[in-house]
Symmetry: C2
Subunit: 547 residues, 2 copies
């Protein structure tokens, strides 16, 4: 039996376009002699549809699309992900479902049993769990269909069984001969290897082959990395879809060949590729064809610019240098070198005159108080205003360039350098930003990010001779503390016990806590770690728990 894994990149809510893409894939697969084509979870609407699911006409439109797609299933069968209305008069109104389509119509519907409601996932907000699993019979093969999380309730690999039900176990004991898992599993650094372990373990445990078909593409902060896989009953990978790109992966289950080499990129390359895909898709799916960003000569804006160029092409990126009286010569020259290396348009708009006018108009209202962070913020906000004016005038999307370490401790100005529609590297800790910079240069085989940008001490240059380390601990220390506090949810005592200076730990933790208000208004940021600021981390603001 020839199976196709249709790793498509849907636009959330664009039911017409997504359906068209699916009908096209069905037609291509049929011409390749495929007997069954499987699509990702909720493929008709794109994942995650979020509160679009609360619109009754949205659900109706998606059901109509399923029937249209089913009509194209002649001489081939398809498994398509969609939203089904729950016809029971008790429980939530929807189910996360898969339609088995053959002979021009929907033959059976399978339901997701386990509904992830943690991190970025909110499925119990919308869906009622399926009451039971469904095995479909296709060409005399009994196929157990599951949807994403259904396969993840594996204490051995995941560490805790968070659900009482085990739908994959039910499918196996119900006589399934092949398992198909339709997924929308977002990227995180290291998650591909985890998925391989998990799926291999499930295959071996039930001694059944598993087809895992994953969504690809960026949808808001989530980046789906594709990299669909087929496992044999021994847990060996016998086919692998492209990472970070659309693919139609065709596998003949009667003539399997073992994949010798995992084509998935190295960890740092995977973060790079994820950010490129996430940036490209956010920009294009929002309807933009050009972006701009401020270039300070520093590492964050340099890496963000390089990612933007990889995502959109050099002609679609404008860099803006906005020197102030505190800007060093190397800032300007490093920014210009970067722009030349990337081949992007570069504009220089000094902020001096606006900055001075702001200050001279405000000083009389400051009642003789000393200069402080206020004056630094004014500069950052003048820059934000200039970038937003260009964004408004030319219809360009503004990328913001802050990294995760800064955002964690609030080393950034709200309405200043935080201005922008997409925060490309806001889930990348500072030390990983350096790693990305070196990776970008290695990959290009030449200097894209100026070496001086990589080598010099980081500085916001908002007052004379400032460096980041005037206010913050060294970034290797900061990043290590942040990982324990934010990712591991450790408390101050545990972090100190891990060997860090108590005063520094307390200071960092306090900064993270008191800066929730800034993150509340931060630009949407691309998620690449297991715990990103954004929809997956929901902290109260007017709150007082410390440490």
């Amino acid at each position: 039996m020839k199976i196709a894994l249709a790793q498509i990149n849907p636009v959330v809510g664009d039911i017409a376009a997504n359906s068209g893409r699916m009908i096209d894939a069905i037609s291509r697969a049929r011409s390749e002699g495929v007997s069954l084509i499987a699509f990702p979870e909720l493929s008709v609407v794109g994942y995650p549809p979020r509160d679009l699911l609360l619109k009754p006409r949205f659900v109706r439109a998606n059901v109509e699309a399923v029937h249209r797609i089913a009509e194209s299933c002649v001489g081939i069968a398809a498994l398509i992900g969609f939203v089904e209305a729950n016809t029971d008069n008790v429980g939530r109104r929807l189910r996360n479902a898969a339609a088995y389509c053959a002979d021009g119509k929907v033959q059976a519907v399978c339901h997701k049993s386990l509904l992830p409601t943690y991190d970025v996932f909110d499925e119990q907000r919308y869906f009622e769990p399926g009451p039971d699993v469904t095995i479909i019979e296709h060409l005399n093969v009994r196929i157990g269909v599951s949807i994403c999380e259904d396969l993840w309730n594996d204490e051995q690999v995941v560490g805790r069984q968070i659900y009482k039900r085990d739908p994959v176990g039910q499918l196996a004991s119900g006589g399934a001969q092949l398992l198909i898992n339709m997924s929308a599993s977002p990227f995180e650094k290291g998650k591909h290897a985890f998925r391989r372990r998990l799926f291999a373990n499930q295959a071996r445990k039930h001694h059944l082959p598993i087809v895992f078909v994953n969504q690809v593409g960026g949808n808001d902060e989530l980046i789906f990395d594709g990299a669909s896989m087929v496992f044999d009953a021994d847990g060996q990978v016998i086919a692998q879809g492209k990472p970070f790109d659309e693919d139609l992966l065709i596998v003949d289950l009667e003539a399997p060949t073992t994949v010798q080499q995992d084509t998935y990129p190295s960890p740092i390359a995977s973060v790079h590729d994820a950010l490129v895909l996430g940036t490209r898709d956010y920009v294009r799916k929002c309807g933009f064809d050009h972006v701009l960003l401020g270039l300070s000569g520093g590492i964050d804006s340099a890496v963000t610019a390089a990612i933007a160029v990889a995502a959109l092409g050099a002609d679609s990126v404008t860099g803006v240098g906005m020197p102030s009286r505190y800007s060093s010569d190397h800032s300007k020259s490093d920014a210009e070198s970067l722009a030349v290396n990337l081949g992007i348009e570069f504009r220089m708009i000094p902020i001096g005159e606006i900055h001075e006018t702001f200050e001279s108009n405000l000083t009389p209202h400051f009642s003789g108080r000393q200069p402080d962070i206020t004056e630094e913020n004014i500069q950052a906000r003048v820059r934000g205003g200039i970038l937003m004016a260009l964004s408004n005038k030319f219809g360009w999307l503004l990328l913001t360039t802050g990294n995760k370490s800064e955002l964690a401790v609030g080393y950034c100005t709200l309405y200043g350098d935080m201005c922008g529609g997409l925060a490309v590297i806001s889930d990348v800790p500072k030390m990983m930003v350096y790693e990305l910079a070196r990776h970008i240069n290695e990959r290009a085989g030449r200097e894209i990010i100026p070496q001086n940008t990589i080598d010099k001490p980081p500085s916001a240059e908002l007052r004379p001779d400032q460096t980041d380390q005037d206010s913050l601990p060294p970034y290797d220390v900061l990043d290590a503390i942040l990982a324990l506090y934010i990712h591991e949810e450790q408390g101050v005592e545990e972090i100190i016990a891990a060997g860090f200076d108590p005063a520094i730990v307390q200071r960092v933790v306090r900064l993270v806590d008191v800066n929730e208000y800034k993150r509340k208004q931060a630009a949407l940021g691309l998620k690449v770690t297991s715990r990103a600021f954004g929809v997956g981390r929901r902290m109260p603001i007017a709150a007082r728990f410390r440490y």
Copy 2:
């Protein structure tokens, strides 16, 4: 049996202070001869604790506090809301629980069975449902304890049974003689009357008295209105706690008296009181003692200022007038009159010079393009920069003044008039802003909001002779369409069928959809309707479903 309903105002996460407040209430109740005191849901940690729940030390600290509070329960029993670790090795790690404390220790623990996961609620993100209901025996009375949502699964009143279980029915059939419901039920306009109907229906259905004890106070965007109630077995209210204030309501169940008059305020007064409480608590719980806001002479900033003064006192509010070349004389005089009426400090900082410098520095970069919305946004951003500079210099919290109708259609400038830490009226539609203005003047018995501010046509004054109605339909039409689209989730066809102009409906709906990106970065706003922008409405941004 004398019961106390301890309607407390906790600070989220401030376990020490919340515990202290609870121990104090226990002591006062004991001195009044109370035999059982009931606290709201999760009273030890404050509702909603959100992702603080994922910190193991947070849960440990809350359990330790429960035992400390229990030690004070001598000569009196207490029901206290807290987070319990789930000791089962399957399922989520926590339970939403209530401890029955007597004789100095925890005697029994009850668990919440129904976990709301819709609108602003995310309880299935954290909690495992209780496996069964618990009846405690107190002074030979069998008391059925339920927590908030447990009592809401009432198809007759709510319209749909969204859970299969009915814990209150189980408690009744299990022999409970009295029902106690420990709640953290947030305010919405009209919800108090709904709660009365719901609880009365449950009391009559099971022929049991019900004690409903509710949290009070503002926690981020949610405002809890208190107004705890005791119902007899016929569904009559026999006692009622204060709305929008802390209270220790003591009821002798053997000597009940019917409450003749519902003390709850009228709908518009309830919105006013909710906004006052929500503003006061957000400001104070964030550690501020002074706020500022821009005063344009218009109705939105006037109503916001009046609410701020009611919340914090006139000495804690500064108004700032920032006229531009487009500002009319009446704008300046109306803003000044308002400040005089409220007795607040008023500063005038004209934006002309900064505005001109911005324009003269940017125009060369605009490549001969015509003036457009860009220039209007620059003015708004200069004002935002001035207000933020004052906020930074003096440590004042900036209130933003936009209303819900504007925020819905994006008639506001990101990083301009959207600057601020709290959006006081961002869930109040424009027509209700007028209603609030009239209510504020009526309540004061004098002109607080200048009559000219109420009477004149609304204008952003960002270009000569501009009025809102140049860009938007009349506000009564706009608000009616928005209510159908946002609150009722109706589609374009349905809204047109309700009698609105097709072109206007399509335009409004499109504006709502394309402005999700602005709301992503909006200030936290106080929720007063059933569907506010904020955590209760989660829309994708890079999405294409229309209508």
